[in-house]
């Protein structure tokens, strides 16, 4: 649970706030409000009952508040202190307008704000803040929390500022007095949401068998998340509310403003195969179903009473199985989020034992491998424990390790040598770097070292792009866009804040200084881009087995043109390969088309659909390669007609859906230059029925 917070914003709405300063296009008020709206929309976004805001207008035309004393004129409570909703935000927005007056006292407004907070929070534990945005001093300033100052303010206001500054200083350490420039800068820097520590394990860490061995290591420890993947907010699936979803609604995205949306739920129906039912399937009641698992294609039913039967019985434990030297571990094995383990508090024996373990591992440059069951009945995982010592901190970090099943033993060729078919090993080859390239790469890597390229708070060289400087662009990008859209629905989606792209490319200045090194690397690398045309282009030379045997030559010429249904695809490819005239291609396409149609016609349900789909896919691919898109397009137009008219053994619309899904429609110009079909025509072809 995060702390309860209440914040009152006092916004100076005096006539002077209309002015435009500092070369900006917006008025002072609008500019200052960009900060306030950001803060308020954060509150709205949080959707928390215990995060409350109120807004007080200062130097308003009217007076409306709860203090019945004199001297509090031209101050209005625009938004009583409380949780903020989207509709609250919308009601508030039109109220933030510059007034016609310059009357009104900032200190009085603070008194009112304090009164609001007092009344609302009573004596309970709350974080209380007041934020005063005003140009009394020049532009703005702040009471218990943020604020502003202007450097070139008129001397007359100096005293005002001092008074306010004194007030701020008197409020204790937490109060700040700052200029809006600073405040807005602050706002652009992403903020990581802080999350309270989450305990993932609380129990013993052991080495040896406590039950049977005479002496073991047994330490009471606590384990917490160290990293936990933060995710961007996800969009909900919604539809326009029914009363508004008239026939003319037609998903007109331009007119979405003011339209109410409602959530979409999912309801599931269940079907089983039944040869007697129409379409081969029929519905079954959810209540009649049992739970189970698939073992291969066998359904294994597990009765309610022993639903846990496949679960390994485990007991909460954290057992070290052995140690490895640090240099033998590769961080690329890490399978996920890391945790931190510390000794339980107020337990001398555990603290000392833990200390000796951390120290011993650290001095030996070793890591421990342990088997961890975080709670009874949880599946065991293997973790790697890594010691960490700091003057005020001693802990073991851990990362999850893979099991045997988690590693796929793919084979890859070696990177530093080439093995020829005859089994020889070569170290000089076009696939291997020359000495010159190796040297150029080495120079480049050293030149682009950013281990010390950054600057720390004291202006000293420091590591560049440290983890606490990296923000997840996706999270902050979407939050930024949502807040903007909520406050200003009329504006287009804002650009990506540049701070989120800070590490999208190497530092420009560094690149400039090492440009010569980069140039020599590029020269030594001598990389050539494969022209896009040649990539998909059919290789005219025949494919050969490893021996290089010309297989096509083994066949008698007479067999080449005919396509048998049993071996359709190889026959088709062979026919195209040996074709010299367009007529031969046309003939092969025709034969293939007939085979496809008979596959569909003969299909019981969908049992031959996959075969037909495969054949169509091959036809499309081959005819694109041969630059004969017209022949395919002709075929596919005819096929669609037959599918939809039911001449291929009944209702075959389901096959047409499959084709649409797999994008096996018309070949368009961008896919094959010889095609006369446009993208629009192709889209229409998919859509029309």
């Amino acid at each position: 649970m995060a702390d309860k917070e209440s914040t009152v914003f006092i916004i100076d709405l005096g006539a002077s706030m209309k002015a435009t300063n500092g070369g900006r296009k917006e008025s002072d008020l609008d500019w200052s409000m960009s900060y306030v709206w950001d803060k308020i929309s954060n509150v709205v976004a949080s959707n928390r009952k215990t995060l409350c805001v109120g807004v007080v207008g200062l130097r308003t035309d009217e007076t409306s508040h709860t203090l019945a004393e004199d001297g509090y004129d031209h101050i209005s409570i625009l938004q009583p202190l409380g949780p903020m909703s989207m509709s609250g935000l919308k009601t508030l927005q039109p109220k933030i307008q510059p007034s016609k007056t310059t009357e009104g006292d900032a200190i009085s407004a603070i008194v009112i704000a304090v009164d609001m907070i007092d009344t609302f929070t009573k004596k309970n534990k709350w974080k209380r803040q007041i934020c005063l945005v005003t140009d009394v001093l020049g532009v703005d300033f702040d009471a218990p929390d943020y604020g502003y100052k202007e450097e070139d303010k008129p001397a007359v206001k100096k005293q005002n500022e001092e008074t306010l500054k004194k007030l701020v200083d008197g409020c204790g350490e937490d109060a700040r007095f700052a200029s809006i420039v600073e405040a807005i800068d602050d706002m652009n820097e992403p903020r990581a949401k802080s999350v309270k520590p989450y305990k993932t394990y609380d129990g013993s860490l052991t080495l040896g068998d406590p039950k049977n061995a005479p002496a073991v290591v047994e330490v009471r420890v606590e384990r917490y998340f160290k990293t936990h993947l933060a995710r961007p907010v996800t969009a909900s699936t919604v539809v326009v509310k029914e009363e508004q979803a008239g026939p003319s609604q037609a998903a007109d995205d331009e007119q979405m403003e003011g339209v109410e949306l409602t959530a979409v739920k999912q309801s599931r129906t269940y079907k089983v195969n039944d040869p007697d039912a129409p379409g081969g399937k029929r519905d079954v009641e959810f209540e009649s179903l049992a739970k189970g698992y698939e073992y291969g294609r066998t359904a294994v039913h597990i009765s309610e009473s022993d639903h846990n039967v496949t679960k390994l019985q485990t007991q909460k434990s954290f057992k070290i199985i052995g140690f490895i030297p640090k240099e033998k571990y590769e961080p690329l094995l890490n399978l996920g989020e890391s945790c931190v383990t510390i000794a339980a508090k107020y337990d001398e024996k555990s603290e000392l034992a833990f200390s000796s373990l951390v120290w011993a591992l650290s001095e030996l440059d070793s890591y421990a491998v342990a088997r961890l069951v975080t709670k009874d009945e949880k599946d065991p995982i293997m973790v790697l424990l890594m010691p960490y010592l700091e003057p005020n901190y001693a802990c073991l970090y851990d990362v999850p390790l893979p099991f045997a099943e988690d590693v796929r033993s793919y084979q890859f060729p070696p990177l530093d040598r080439v093995v020829t078919i005859s089994g020889q090993t070569i170290t000089k080859h076009r696939l291997l770097p020359s000495d010159e390239l190796s040297q150029a790469m080495s120079d480049y890597v050293d030149a682009m070292d950013i281990s010390n390229y950054g600057i720390d708070q004291d202006g000293e060289p420091a590591e560049y792009a440290t983890i606490d400087e990296i923000y997840n662009p996706a999270i902050h990008r979407i939050n930024h866009a949502i807040k903007q859209r909520a406050v200003h629905p009329e504006r287009p989606v804002p650009e990506i804040p540049p701070v989120l792209l800070r590490f999208a490319a190497p530092p420009t200045e560094l690149v400039e200084t090492v440009q010569a090194t980069i140039d020599s690397l590029i020269k030594a690398a001598d990389v050539k881009k494969v022209p896009p045309k040649a990539k998909g282009k059919r290789q005219r030379e025949a494919v050969k087995p490893i021996s290089g045997l010309d297989v096509d030559a083994l066949l008698g010429g007479e067999k080449k043109g005919s396509i048998s249904p049993e071996n359709a695809i190889p026959d088709f490819k062979r026919a195209l390969n040996s074709s010299e005239e367009v007529e031969q291609i046309a003939d092969a396409t025709k034969q293939m088309g007939a085979i496809v149609q008979s596959l569909i016609t003969d299909s019981f349900g969908d049992n031959k659909y996959a075969q037909a789909m495969e054949s169509i896919g091959v036809m499309r691919e081959e005819l694109i390669n041969l630059e004969e898109p017209g022949q395919y397009n002709e075929f596919v137009r005819d096929l669609k007609k037959k599918l939809l008219s039911g001449t291929l053994g009944g209702d075959r619309r389901d096959f047409w859906f499959k084709m649409r899904w797999a994008k096996l429609g018309l070949i368009i110009q961008s896919q094959s230059e010889a095609s006369t079909v446009t993208l629009e025509e192709a889209d229409e072809f998919y859509k029309s029925r």
């Binding site: 089983v272 959810f286 590693v407 997840n472 690398a525 695809i569 896919g617």
Partner: protein, 648 residues
């Protein structure tokens, strides 16, 4: 239907399953894998190994080893590739069997081919039948009896495989024929038969079916690919430019034929599907192509499904989802659906184009932004699994040599790259460390079970960090550290590496073991051996004495620390009783141990609290302050008082 559903789910979870989706080279194909294992049955395959008194001697005939391996593969694929198909074709058999198809031609077309397990997702019965064949000493059905007449026609075998794939695994993204044989020259004297086989092999190639050969060699003789199989096997078009060699299985060097075969087949267990195929921008203006592979990835048991039991046979039901509006419960059409974000109790809406622009970080790329010393990456900097990348010459010629140069340099200088990665269009960008893995043969390699190349290891961001503020507990003595060091040194894992292959996931294995016994109606087995449990006996044997030693010292130190803490509490209770109770409690619990603060000591001296303490407590305080702990009580009190005077 199933495909549609899978796709729908993918769309629904695209945020979560990012990066899970494997690269779809041709979109019209189903992303499934089918493996047909063709095993030769011949007198030489059946020949038992030479009799030997040695315990380690070979036990299996080549055929037995091949069948055991098939059984192993089948069980493994049910776990690791539950949606993929597998079949077993025995060739060279006297018996002939194809499918019991109604419209099929039976086995007539494919003499000496016995389709033992038809190509399909394996069922429990398939596992059972195969196990029976492996375990039964007597081959009752005479399935494994070799043909007596002619040599078996390889072109016929290949065409049989062709038909099995074409009908059962049509339109699969990956189809592979594994041939296990010890005969390197089936048609030595028959050129026509050789040519016919080559033509049938080309058919398979045209169908996109890959042939993987698993040759078995016996004794000193080697398997000569040049005699026949070089006409049959094609280079994989998707394979790396620098091809991998065919490995021959044989027994010897302490490795049984079975293990050798299992290891060779295992390396092809999953089809090598690339996750992505991307430009890798090593420097501004220098791009190469790499492919990404999911080499390390957590395997979990399949989720539960619903089963319909009212029919003759239990059936897994297929679910279909309809969407309804929450307010009116009316059914919603797909084109009506919009995506919006919840914000302050209402929805904030973006058009699909706007949504897309928000997620757009430019075209996919892996872009190096600089290099760092390897040790700058903190040990805990882990949030997600890593992805293996390997060069491909497809888009940029010369990719391999540049990649190799970078890989070598990073290894030599112990550096890593830092890269901005957009791994697919509209996916979240991540900053990752680019870390090299060593050659498997490299002595220094900690990962001899992984290929050499580069790995994209996503780094945590500031958003992913959790702040743990905990005060440091007590520090132990040098003595205790030293004793623990000895213990650690005794208990290194074999070869000093964590080799995951030695640790099967006990929960996963148990889950499938139980499913198998339920499916086959067998007895529930005893609890299996769990290799992830510590070897307590060995630990005790190797380090028991040192552990006792350590434990004794720990006990002493802990007792002392406990005394000193409770002493401090007493002193505080006595000396500074005017403090509010709450504060005092907090102070007492502060785990600062024997670091008695100056103020506390001073208070104790002034109130004559020191003389109320026991000798043990005084010794503790003196010890903590680096004073001698010898002498009588009065000496201790005096020494401490003097120290306080001098140091306050």
């Amino acid at each position: 239907m199933a495909d549609k559903q899978r796709d729908w789910r993918r769309e629904e979870n695209d945020e979560d399953e990012e990066g899970e989706q494997e690269l779809d080279e041709s979109s019209f194909k189903a992303q499934k894998d089918a493996v047909l294992l063709a095993i030769e049955v011949s007198p030489s395959m059946l020949e038992p190994p030479p009799a030997s008194s040695s315990k380690k001697a070979e036990q299996d005939s080549p055929l037995q080893a091949a069948l055991k391996c098939a059984h192993h593969l089948m069980e493994q694929r049910i776990i690791s590739n539950p949606k993929d198909m597998m079949g077993i074709l025995l060739f060279g058999t006297e018996k002939t069997k194809f499918r019991d198809d109604k419209d099929g031609r039976g086995g007539l077309g494919y003499p000496n081919c016995y389709l033992f397990t038809d190509l399909d997702v394996p069922a429990a019965d398939d596992v059972k039948a195969l196990r029976a064949l492996v375990e039964e000493e007597e081959d009752e059905d005479e399935v494994l009896k070799p043909a007596t007449t002619d040599v078996v026609s390889m072109s016929n075998v290949l065409f049989c495989a062709n038909q099995i794939f074409t009908t059962k695994a049509a339109n699969f993204g990956s189809r592979r024929l594994f041939i296990v044989t010890d005969n390197d020259d089936p048609h030595a004297s028959d050129k026509a038969a050789r040519s016919a086989a080559a033509v049938r092999a080309k058919d398979l190639y045209d169908l996109g079916i890959t042939i993987d050969l698993f040759p078995i060699a016996k004794g000193e003789s080697s398997f000569d690919l040049g005699k026949f199989y070089d006409d049959i096997v094609y280079r994989d078009v998707n394979a790396e430019a620098n091809g991998t060699e065919v490995r021959t299985s044989k027994s010897g060097d302490g490795l049984s034929l079975l293990n050798s075969l299992i290891s060779n087949i295992n390396s092809k267990q999953s089809p090598k599907r690339a996750l992505f195929h991307l430009p890798f921008e090593i420097a501004p203006g220098l791009r190469i192509t790499v492919k990404g592979y999911n080499v390390v990835s957590r395997q979990t048991p399949a989720r539960t499904c619903y089963i319909w039991l009212d029919g003759e046979k239990a059936q897994i039901v297929t679910g279909e989802t309809t969407r309804v509006a929450e307010d009116s419960a009316r059914t919603v059409e797909k084109q009506e659906i919009k995506k919006a974000y919840k914000f302050g109790g209402e929805y904030v809406y973006f058009t699909p184009e706007e949504q897309k622009s928000i997620r757009d970080y430019g075209p996919p790329v892996i872009r190096i932004i600089g290099f760092k010393n390897r040790n700058l990456i903190p040990a805990w900097a882990s949030v997600k699994k890593s992805t293996f990348i390997f060069p491909s010459e497809e888009d940029y010629i010369g990719s391999s040599r540049v990649f190799s140069a970078l890989w070598q340099k990073l290894l030599d200088s112990e550096k890593i790259g830092i890269a901005w990665c957009v791994l697919r269009s509209n996916s979240q960008p991540v900053l990752a460390a680019v870390i090299p893995s060593r050659e498997q043969s490299d002595e220094a390699s900690g990962t001899p079970y992984l290929p050499a190349g580069l790995w994209i290891c996503p780094l945590p961001t500031a958003d992913d960090l959790r702040d743990i503020s905990a005060e440091r507990g007590l520090d132990c003595s040098e003595d205790l550290k030293t004793k623990m060091r000895v213990v650690v040194q005794q208990l290194n894992l074999p070869k000093g590496v964590y080799n995951p292959l030695k640790y099967p996931n006990p929960a996963l294995q148990w889950h499938y073991k139980i499913l198998q016994t339920l499916a086959l109606d067998e007895e529930v087995p005893e609890k299996p051996e769990d290799l992830t449990e510590p070897k307590n006996k060995a630990i005790n044997k190797r380090a028991g004495g040192y552990l006792e030693d350590w434990a004794e010292t720990l006990k002493d130190e802990a007792d002392r620390a406990a005394r000193s803490r409770s002493l401090k509490r007493e002193v505080e209770d006595d000396g500074v009783s005017e403090r509010p109770a709450k504060q005092r409690k907090a102070a007492a619990e502060r785990p600062s141990g024997s670091t008695f603060s100056m103020a506390q000591l001073k208070a104790a001296v002034e109130s004559e609290g020191l003389s109320k303490m026991t000798v043990a407590q005084l010794k503790d305080v003196a010890g903590a302050k680096g004073l001698s702990t010898s002498g009588k009580k009065a000496d201790l009190v005096e020494r401490i008082e003097q120290w306080v005077e001098e140091n306050s």
